[in-house]
Amino acid sequence: MATEQKPKSRFGMVIDLDRCNGCGACAAACAVENNVPPAHPTATDRTGLTWMRVYRADNRRPFPDNRSVYFPVSCQHCGNHTPCMAVCPQNAVDINPETGVVSQIPVRCLGCRYCMAACPFHARYFNWFDPKWPHEMENALNPDVSVRMRGVVEKCNFCHSRWQAAVARAAANGNHDIDPADYVPACVEACPEKAMTFGNLDDPKSEVARQSKAPIVFRLLARLNTDPKVYYRSDRDWVRRLGDTDVAQGESEVSRG
C-alpha cells in the first residue's frame, strides 16, 4: 500500500489568506468533528493536539506599517514522495486511491514519530496524554470517528468520515460517484469568512480546480516538490513569500520542536 499510484480523484483546498481573520473557527469545528480532546492541563505548544493550526505571521515592519496574516495549516496531503508515508515502518500511512487523502491509522501506529520528523509542515501530532473529555462531553463524541489512544500519532484526513457517509449515500441511491456538494470538511463548512474552497482538484469543472490555477496562488514550501493538495491565496507579495519559509519560525505565538 506504500505504492504510489495515481488516485481516482484528488481532493484539496484553496485557502484565501486575504479573507482569513484568524478566528480559529476551523480549528474548533475540526476538533469537535474529529473527537480531538481538550488540551491536557500540562500540555504545551509542543505537546498539545490539533489537526488544524492557525499560525500568525507578520511583515516585520514597525508600526504603523505592520501587517499580519494568519495561516491555517492542516495536513497538506502531499501527493509526491509523501514524506510521512515513506518513513512509516508500520504501513500505518497510505494514500487513499479514491480521494488522494493521506491516511493515518492510529491502531497500527507504534508511536515512533518518524512521520512527525519527516513532515515539513509540522501537521502531525502525537498523543502524549490519555484523551479525556469532561463527563458530559463524552456523550457528544462523533461516532463516525474513532477515538485515539495515548502513544499514537494523528492528523487531518479531510474529514474522511464525511467522505464515507457521502459514498454510502450515493450507494444507497445506486450511484458509484458522490455528489461533490455532499463532501465538505468541517473546517471549510465552519469558516465564517468563506475563506476555504474545497473539492476535487482533478475535476476541471470544480471551483477549487479553477482557483488553484490563479497566479496569486501558492503552496507552502513548494520547493520541496511534495505536491501538497492545500493551496493558499493572497494578493500580497510578502504573504506569498512567506510560503517559502517555515511558517512555524515566522513571528508567531507558536514554537514547535
Binding site: 486511491p97 491509522i105 449515500r169 444507497a172
Partner: protein
Amino acid sequence: MKLRGFIPFGVGLLVALGGGWFAVPRAMYRRTEQPIQFSHKTHTSEKVGMSCQDCHSLSADGKFSGIPRLETCAPCHTEPQGKSAEEKRLVDEYVSKNREIPWLVYARQPENVYFSHAPHIKLAGIKCERCHGPHGSTGRLRSYEQNRISTYARDVEGYSLVKLNAADWQQGMKMNDCSHCHQQRGVQESCLTCHK
C-alpha cells in the same frame, strides 16, 4: 516393545490434541444469551409474512437500519398473540415498559472499523447470507460469543480453525476476509476505506 511405548504416547497425544481442539474455543470465548429468543422463522413464515426489508432496510441517506427498534415490534406485540412464554416476557419486560431490547450484534466490528451496507447490498448485490450465514431463516438464536482477550465477536474472528469445509461467512470477517473479497472483485482500497 517399542510399539508398547508408542501406543500410550499416541493415545495421550490424541487425547491432548482432541481435548485442546474441543476445549480451547470454549475457554477462549465467553457465551452470553440474547435478551429475547427471537425467531426469524416465525416472522418470515407465511403466517406472519414479513420480509427482511420490513425490519432491516437501507434509507436514502445511506444508513442501514440495523436491528429494528422496539417501535417495530410494538404494533403486533402490545398484547401476547400466542401462548409462548417468550412472547409474554417481551410484552411484560420491554413493550409495556417501553424499554429497548439490548440485542447483542453477532457481526459487530471493533470501534475503529468502518463498514457500510449500502455499497455491498445495493451496488454489489451481495446476499445477506454471504456475510451472515443463514441467520435470517433460523428459529432460535445461538448464544453470542465474545473473545475474552480481544473482546471481538466470534463472527468476526471466524469459526473454522483449519478453514476446511467452512462456508465463507464461517471464516469470519477479519481484515483479511474483507480485503480478500475486495481483491477478488477489484475494489480499490486503502486503510481509510475500512477504518475511521
